[in-house]
Symmetry: C2
DNA sequence: ATTCCGCGCTAAACCGGTTTGCTAAACCGG
DNA sequence: CCGGTTTAGCAAACCGGTTTAGCGCGGAAT
């Protein structure tokens, strides 16, 4: 810790200082048994006193592997980390990675360019989540022969993919609402990222199909204004319900494509003076951790988020390690979890008409019963 | 995309195939202007057809920089990613990193060893969060001269540190409860990771000090059983309140050291048949995003989590880039946000005694009013 | 016609480690 | 005392790129 010069010491510096060869220094760190014990000690002492730390990059170069897994997402990290869905997914990937001693490196657009991010990524394999097939960037990786697993993507033919039965889940959600007598139903979809075209085969598209199928089975068709999209955030969900209400629609049930938005819907409902589920039933999607702790606990479509991440992680690790060179795609199940945010449609609220029609006559401006303590910081 | 052999092609392969030197290939990728346009095109075409992707590791080696920021945590990633606090913090770091075109690499124990993880970490600088000074691993980095910023750590003397005024925040929280007339107060602390000794100067210690100071100022001392610790999760919070109740304690106010746990307390309270805030006031800490959407919205101590991450990120980036070689530590403010989970102590609940004493006489077994629909999946 | 310049490209050195193959000395049993 | 094995350590090649210095050449300036 003594003579620290300007530059960081390299292996040659340690070698010179200790009066040995580079090889000896390398051995002192990696295979001490190949050195006389006291030599090894001496070298390490010198190294410590110089503040020497073997350069990991150089090391990885000779080893031709980084033991790092990439998690690729088309969204900015600064926008995604507090999304509970992404958090849980990452947990799953991390679990798989940790078991094999792999680190995690997040790959997301650098200065807006995913390509540039991919070029820099020092990883042995990649789990891509929410990347559409259109994103040509994926080709880059595939062609380069880097082990790659896609999650929640409109499947590329010959790429291992992990998905979830979104359509069946959505179908069950809608069925549930129908069984409770709801006919006036609002669907809240996930807004596709600006610049990205909506993907009929993407997650959103599949869920929409599930909803529609169930609704159509009951002879119901969504009317204009009864399908809204919003960013998948709490605020997005709140805005969606508020907007709908302001437009004069009065659904008795809401199908929301993500729990995060559903929580916003719950909140907005309370602020509109609606009781859930007495006045409004809400069904989410994902079953993130907090959903069982919302008020009321959220009825939602469960998907095994962590397992999805873990499975993807294991798959790509298997590819990296050479076992299982052509791994199959995996499709995981979803299932409806009925909690307390859904209930039978209220007597008074029942309408004769089977569709959710705009009822402009009874349109109200502003909130019927705005909560006076609206959650704004007061201090 | 044609003749793919077993191995991934190297720059030499492309050079040979295109009939040029390695240099030319390198230029084709990095400085095309130094080549005749058609040569550049030809080289890139050959490269594409071979599926060539320049090895990022080799590239970083010559550039002697990885343009990657490390986020160091002593906890396993698989346990931390769905912690909203960590998510928000990471968002902040990511924001700073993205602006400078840096990627993020998470450094956490590999096979239980943080040291090993640090050895592998190919980063230009590190933001360490929640790492105690005792963790000798930090020395490794400091000695190696790697830019390093500590967050929420018992400050090492000569290391730039970002912290938050935990003590003042906790003090304000306790004062608030006292002002509302609460005298029987429960404190829920964060359980230190097993194996780690509790740190009096750590975040938990500072918050505890703030609470105690306020309480002491009102002549109140916590009694045995009125200070419990739990893992900082929703379940941890639920368990803490339940356990307390089962022990026969009947606090009217709870000071919780994290919002995540506070959400658990809220939930457990409801299951115990307690109304919040009528029967029980709850104050959290952190002000994570969902806290304004809980039921009721949570009174809590706000700390600028994202800003903390962003500041730490900027600081370490400044160090990496050579500007600001000896950056100062930063202390950010906390402030109490009063929402709806706190209220005046109820008439009936008021006790004469000023301390939270175990009232074993009225001990109840089981839950007074167990919620029949206890949030378990029913489908 | 010579000089000079810039273009287009290359050979070789370099980044900071690891690994291979080898040598010299020490050891060892017969 | 000898041949053979082990031990300790070294020089050089290598990982896969980037970068520096420089070379041959054609055209413009002198």
């Amino acid at each position: 810790m003594e003579e620290r010069t300007g530059r960081r010491p390299r292996i040659a510096d340690v070698a010179r200082e200790a009066g040995v060869s580079k090889t000896a220094v390398s051995f002192a760190f990696n295979r001490p048994s190949r050195l006389a014990p006291e030599t090894a000690i001496r070298i390490r002492t010198v190294a410590d006193s110089l503040g020497y730390r073997p350069d990991p990059v150089a090391r990885m170069l000779t080893q031709r592997s980084t033991r790092t897994l990439g998690v690729l997402t088309p969204q900015a990290l600064s926008v995604i980390f507090s999304n509970p869905f992404f958090g849980a997914f990452s947990e799953g990937v991390a679990l798989a990675a940790e078991q094999e001693g792999f680190a995690l490196d997040f790959i997301s657009p650098l200065h807006g360019s995913l390509t540039r991010a991919i070029e820099r990524a020092m990883v042995d394999g990649v789990v891509a989540i929410g990347v559409s097939a259109q994103h040509g960037e994926v080709e880059q990786l595939r062609v380069a022969g880097l082990p790659l697993v896609m999650v929640d993507s409109s499947a590329l033919p010959d790429l291992p993919t992990i998905e979830v039965d979104d359509e069946a889940g959505a179908f069950a959600a809608a069925q549930h609402l129908l069984a409770l007598g709801h006919r006036d139903i609002l669907v809240v979809g996930i807004e596709s990222t600006p610049g990205t075209p909506p993907e009929p085969d993407g997650v959103g598209g599949r869920r929409a199909r599930g909803y529609r199928k169930a609704l159509a089975g009951a002879g119901i068709e969504l009317m204009r204004g009864a399908y809204v999209v919003a960013p998948s955030t709490i605020e997005g969900g709140m805005a969606a319900l508020r907007r709908t209400w302001e437009d004069g629609l009065r659904p008795t049930g809401v199908l929301v494509m993500s729990d995060v938005m559903a929580i916003g819907v719950l909140r907005a409902a309370r602020e509109l003076g609606l009781r859930v589920p007495a006045d409004l039933s809400v069904v989410g999607f994902d079953d993130i951790d907090i959903s069982q702790h919302t008020h009321p606990p959220l009825t939602t479509v469960h998907q095994p988020i962590r397992l999805k991440g873990e499975t993807a992680g294991r798959l790509v690790l298997a590819m990296i390690e050479g076992r299982d060179p052509r791994p199959a795609s995996v499709r995981l199940d979803t299932r409806l979890i009925i909690r307390e945010s859904t209930g039978p449609v209220a007597r008074s609220a029942k309408r004769t008409d089977a569709t959710c029609r705009p009822v402009r006559l009874q349109r109200t401006s502003g909130h019927p019963n705005p909560n006076p303590r609206g959650g704004q910081p007061t201090a």
